[in-house]
Subunit: 308 residues, 2 copies
């Protein structure tokens, strides 16, 4: 099975309003709730691809109970660890006139050191059955900034390849613990390396400790620096739609390709096809199956000269 870790899970709310006008009152015309957090999204896509997916991280309070109830309707296994605090909500307010989204993210509950210890014990057990692990998203209050580095070292000790998808200081510390893969986007990469030149920054990130760096270039696909070579994979054309969740779908593509031992060009093709099919799906975070299958034949992969 593939394990995904989401330390800062969320109940994702979407409010649709006719038009968002600050400092006025609005009637919300539509309310949607879904279990959220990057690792949960990754697991959902992995399950759709036919992989056994287990989600762990923290959930607590009334909002955590709603999240777990919604999760029970999905084909992923819930191994979330209870916390005393209330799981956070994220709210996307969609302006029906412009289609634009305004995002409001609660900070999440503070995790105690006892809760972190309980998580680590559960994580060790879950690693015993895992073919790969994804470590996804921001850290909740109370978790030390080196937490991902610690989880990567434990995965390596258990012989389980780890993919890290986070930003800022947790990424900087995590990459130094030598994960199998990191998947920064352009902003995370620039913050890590100081460079906005994708090829240079991707190679620089790799020298910091990751075995492979797959940089997300948004509508231009991904750039992968691996021990076997460097590739750029791009969709056949820019597509209109909502990019929410596209990065998580790419992670699911990379992880599934890893456990299936696909050659790099095929892994990257899958990642880009999934991300693009996610942008094309009507609901944020889902992916369009038909588009995905069509895109598998259309993603262009080009190999770069080896890094100097």
């Amino acid at each position: 099975m593939i394990l995904t870790v989401t330390l800062n899970t969320a109940l994702d709310l979407t409010y649709r309003v006719p038009a968002l006008v600050p400092h006025t009152s609005h009637r919300v015309t539509e309310v949607l709730e879904r279990p959220g957090g990057k690792g949960l999204n990754v697991a959902r896509v992995l399950a759709t691809l036919g992989h056994e997916a287990v989600v762990t991280g923290f959930a607590g309070g009334p909002t955590g109970a709603v999240l777990r109830d919604l999760l029970s309707g999905l084909p992923v296994r819930d191994a979330l660890v209870p916390v005393a605090g209330n799981t956070r909500r994220t709210l996307a307010v969609v302006d029906a006139t412009t289609g634009d989204t305004t995002q409001l993210n609660e900070p999440g509950p503070t995790v105690t050191s006892d809760e972190w210890s309980a998580f680590l014990a559960s994580y060790e057990t879950l690693l015993g059955d895992a073919d790969a692990v994804a470590l996804c998203g921001s850290l909740p209050p109370g978790i030390h900034v080196g937490a991902y580095a610690e989880l990567i070292r434990r995965a390596r000790a258990a012989g389980v390849p780890a993919l890290l998808d986070t930003g800022g200081e947790p990424l900087r510390r995590g990459i130094a613990a030598r994960p199998d893969m990191v998947k920064p986007n352009a902003d995370e990469l620039a913050r890590l390396t100081g460079s906005r030149e994708p090829l240079r920054a991707t190679h620089d990130a790799r020298r910091r400790g990751a075995r492979t760096v797959v940089s997300s270039l948004g509508p231009d696909g991904v750039l992968a620096a691996t021990p076997e070579g460097t590739w750029h994979a791009a969709p056949p054309a820019k597509v209109p739609g909502n990019p929410t969740g596209a990065g998580d779908s790419a992670v699911a593509g990379l992880l599934s390709g890893l456990v299936e031992s696909l050659p790099w060009p095929d892994r990257l093709t899958r990642a880009v096809a999934l991300a693009t099919a996610t942008v094309l799906a009507p609901a944020a975070g889902d992916f369009d199956r038909t588009s995905y299958e069509e895109l598998l034949a259309k993603v262009r992969v080009t190999e770069h000269a080896p890094a100097a």
Copy 2:
């Protein structure tokens, strides 16, 4: 005891953000949750004034459970009737830079006819112990627009004076069922009567069926047309602060004055002092006890000539 009815209860959320900028992403720095809906606010103030207060209406789903849990910490009795749907949330986004609030209100769960019947049976029982009843706020989906008229007729049959605080068509239908009191604000009064001239509109509203009309004039106090005469009661000066909940505090003042058989000038003084002390309180919907007691001696009540 005093019964308050809130058919469309809510969990009131407040998010504080550094600055609200539409179509961007925000970290919420502070999350507050409190049980909401106008009748719940009225009951909380009544309890603070030393009255036994019972709240009824509907609550359901995970949000209803959170609301009832928070309510259990307050000195009011919970007689809410369960519904299958999820109680709505209201969200106030406070911009810490400007202090302005952007309000987002969920529609509330649809109430079935069986749930409405269960409510009516419970309401009849509660009326048996009630000295007065307040009918407060909007109607949730599924409740017929004449619902307040029905509740007023039942209260009259049980010999319990009813105060109606709502707007639009529910107010128009309700007033025709001859409640003891209605408490419209300027907008509700204008919508009902077509007039924005307070004295004319208040007398017009009274001719539509209410025994007494107490019109809220915002910072200018209240105007009351009663069988015993017409009075204007005003605070000594305009006060800075947050008017959220001021109208609910005024209703609590009017109801407590009713069951204590206070003369009209004293009832109106209490209502205006409570409303003003609510504007002055740091937290929306609370009232400042010291200010309230000082204001009791300072509210100016003037009698108007009888209506033509």
